[in-house]
Amino acid sequence: MNQFEKLTIKSTIQHLKCKDFSCKELTEYFIKKISDNRKLNCFITETPDHALEMALNSDKKIDNNEIRAMEGIPIAMKDLFCTKNVKTTAASKILENFIPFYESTVSKKLWDSGSVMLGKSNLDEFAMGSANTTSFFGNVINPIKGKNNSDLVPGGSSGGSAAAVAAGLCLGATGSDTGGSIRQPASFCGIVGMKPTYGRCSRFGMVAFASSLDQAGTLTKNVDDSAIMLQTICGYDEKDSTSSKMDVPKFSEYEKLSLKGKKIGIPKEYLVDGLNSEIKKSWENFSEEFKKIGVEIIDISLPHTKYSLPTYYIIAPAEASANLARYDGVRYGYRHQNVDNLDDLYEISRSKGFGDEVKRRIMIGTYVLSAGYYDAYYIKALKVRRLILDDFIKAFKKCDLILTPTTPNVSFLIGEKQDDPLEMYLNDVLTVPASLAGLPAISVPAGKNKDGLPFGLQIISSHFNEALVFKAAKFIEDTNK
């Protein structure tokens, strides 16, 4: 086995400090591994030259003893984050050749802390999907195989990032989570996916899907790495009016926290129809495990849970319909050639530039905002969203954390659930509520089903309480070993 295979972010930092190997060697290993695994289709753009340049720079820093938080750590950047002079597509034909001249805040923070960019990872087009099957650049394949070695979806929309981490093509990856797009693929790929509190990470330079929900986060092999990587991307940014000014604690010090005497709520509404029995069993088991270390497990109710998905599927498409209006073929992006009037320019460019799921959501979003339907759909959804948030606020008066499954089921075959968008939407039923409430939530591997397919449990806390989330996630991680 290669010496690099078992590395984590945390261990790599130690090795690099001790000069057990150089960043250049490490980076070359990952570049090779990525090219050997192209069949997984994890990357839209590989950036080996960038990576080597950054690695050499990190080696210099290490030589000079100027080691930064993520010095020399090779990562994948979800192709939703604008990267200066590197193609950024959002997995859409409409941005197929778009080269930003600016850097997103999240990616800038990672480069500033020494991370090495291996490439831009694949995703569902404009982050709209739960299986990474809507990408213009083709679906991503989960490195974990199904029965008879069948190809499974990695989940979505951060499917390329999750699969890359799971396949060992990088040490960590950025993701974005609008309704579960970090947690659900993390669950499907057997890794840790963390979505922090809304406002923790700047959205500047991240291609917008649904602004009030979009939040950057991390996909990593374990909880410690998640804390290290999340640390580098959080913080107030004056370029984003919704970014939070709350202090960012040192997440890696979560170890110092104690779970003893803490209360974890089990929301009965998350026992949804069709919840996989093995996942349900694991959920119950871990409740018991928590009890053993002095955590009080209490039953709680989040009564509006069942309205979360409908609320989400009004708000997210509505915002998306406006956010995606800028892709009009005028200033950048795909333009259909040889049109002789403006409407054709718009309509043909957009119809050819966007895929079916994106168009469907733009249509729904346009409809729920249009005259006569706005109050019945959009305003109604905003009101129910408040009720959903209020449910959580009430619950967190009784408990410190909430434990739920991440997904109702494990990964499925590529091509499955493709015909019915609604069935696909159900993937997010357990992740969407925390998104609507802007709460931090993690998915941490909690076991495998009888076929060896992984699944995660989700831990949710009140706003800005990520450290406690890490603490509980670490317990599950350790117990699951």
């Binding site: 991240m206 009016s241 915002e319 319909s321 800028r326």
Partner: protein
């Protein structure tokens, strides 16, 4: 009732409301830090936000918020402590985001009013609201045969949209409203009111009705960019609507464009789908909450507004109402006046300002500020009139040359040999010689022909080549003729 328009069969009342877009005089744009400088290279003042690039996010300019509040205070309006920014969605090539960030349900400023002068006296015009929004870029249709060019320099500039109630009843009232609004904007300093540069643009809502009946269907005339055009557009549009109604047709609610060459309005061609702007709160921007301290601070430091200033001018300088109105109608002028009047006779100052100086500016077609005429320049001239060195008539003669040149008043007068003769002895000598030459006339005068007094004055002036101080000539002549 005045202002009614005579149709074939009826007297009609025209009902007008204005939507004015005023660009805030800020250095940078409403949601981006690009410059607002006018007349730069195309697309040279464009940030990510202004070009609607992926991942761009708006961050609001505090100065623009303050200017909107000050303007609201100047319009006697309610300031809303909580307001919300909405997206107004439509596609147009100079609208890069595919939506305009505006305020729909919760504007920053609510109801207010201003007063205008009409023939029947003062009239209150209601303000419905004032909200903040982004300007669009510029589409240039006439530079190329097949293409439209897009310049985004103006995209994202801060606008205040100020909406009036449909309270105006004639083109003249609409013009007065716009002038008054512009004056207030200038006084509070939020907008320079320059219509030529497009910093102040008005859309006019026009409808007609038989007096007493309910409001008719209105048409909106877009972007009429001068006060004169507004009146012309209203005249045409009102007549068009009356004609239609009198021939039994209906008015279609629509947006129309005014053609200043043909003096007519026409339907905008680009309107195929019914506009459905799908306003919704912009999720990139939390609600705007104004602190009480900010509002109080702005209230305390609110500049003196034109109505107040007019009152003060009338009381303090004993000006006629008309003169005071003229002086306060432009902030620059009112400041110029107050500087100039210090230690001088208000009547004389007013007559020189509103008479000669305004005529000069009109002729040159420049504003007071553009003309660079200083207070000192006018003051020096007026002082020479006051102390009798120069007659009013002489001063008028040299006025233009004086303003355009660099010479001081004294230099110019001595150069032209124009100083007035105010020396009593010298004048007496002149008068004596005139009287000596016209002994017969003196006799006639003394026997009752009073009219001849003017003749003597004229002769003295002629002899002095117009330099004799007329008041003194009068005084001495009366004395001499008594004997």
């Amino acid at each position: 009732m005045k202002n009614l328009i005579k149709g074939k069969s009826n007297l009609w009342e025209v009902v007008l409301g204005l939507e004015v877009h005023a660009q805030i005089s800020s250095k940078s744009k409403l949601f981006s830090s690009a410059s607002t400088e006018y007349g730069s290279e195309p697309n040279s003042q464009v940030t990510l936000v202004d070009a609607g690039m992926p991942g761009a996010l708006p961050v609001i300019n505090e100065y623009c918020i303050r200017q909107a509040v000050i303007t609201g205070l100047g319009l006697n309006a309610k300031i809303n402590k909580k307001s919300v920014f909405d997206r107004k969605n439509y596609f147009y090539p100079d609208l890069p985001q595919g939506y305009q960030i505006s305020q729909f349900q919760h504007p920053i400023v609510g109801e207010g009013f201003l007063t205008i002068k009409t023939e029947e006296g003062e009239k209150k015009i209601g303000i419905t609201r004032l909200h903040l929004e982004q300007d669009a870029g510029k589409s240039i249709h006439d530079q190329d045969f097949e293409n439209t060019f897009i310049d985004l320099n103006r995209s994202g500039c801060a606008l205040m949209e100020i909406v009036s109630e449909p309270d105006m009843r004639s083109g003249l009232e609409a013009a007065e409203y716009l002038k008054k609004l512009r004056t207030i904007l200038q006084y509070v300093g939020s907008c320079d009111g320059n219509m030529e540069k497009g910093n102040l643009r008005a859309d006019v809502n026009v409808s007609v009705r038989i007096p007493g009946e309910k409001l008719g269907t209105r048409c909106e005339i877009k972007n009429v960019n001068s006060i004169k055009f507004i009146q012309q557009a209203i005249t045409f549009e009102a007549e068009r609507q009356i004609k239609l109604l009198e021939s039994g047709e209906q008015i279609v609610q629509e947006t129309r464009l005014f053609d200043p060459n043909k003096l007519e309005t026409r339907t905008m061609r680009n309107k195929e789908e019914s506009h459905d702007y799908r306003y919704f709160p912009d999720p990139d921007l939390p609600p705007l909450i104004l602190e009480d301290s900010l509002i109080d601070d702005l209230k305390k430091n609110l500049p003196e507004l034109p109505d107040k200033k007019k009152e003060r001018f009338i009381n303090l300088y004993k000006l006629k109402e008309y003169d005071a109105e003229v002086l306060v109608s432009e902030k620059d002028v009112s400041i110029f006046f107050e500087e100039l009047v210090k230690g001088r006779e208000p009547k004389l100052v007013v007559s020189w300002l509103t008479g000669e100086l305004f005529a000069f500016l009109n002729k040159k077609n420049v504003s007071l500020a553009e003309s660079k005429v200083t207070v000192k320049k006018i003051a020096d001239l007026i002082d020479l009139i006051s102390d009798g060195t120069l007659s009013n008539r002489q001063a008028k003669e040299v006025f233009e040359v004086y303003l355009e040149g660099s010479k001081t008043a004294k230099e110019l007068i001595s150069e032209k040999g124009m100083a007035q003769i105010s020396d009593e002895k010298e004048l007496s000598n002149l008068i004596v010689s005139v009287l000596d030459e016209n002994e017969d006339m003196v006799k006639d005068y003394k026997s009752g022909k009073d009219r001849l007094f003017g003749f003597f004055v004229g002769q003295v002036m002629k002899l002095s080549r117009g330099k004799a101080n007329p008041q003194m000539v009068n005084k001495i002549l009366i004395e001499k003729l008594k004997r």
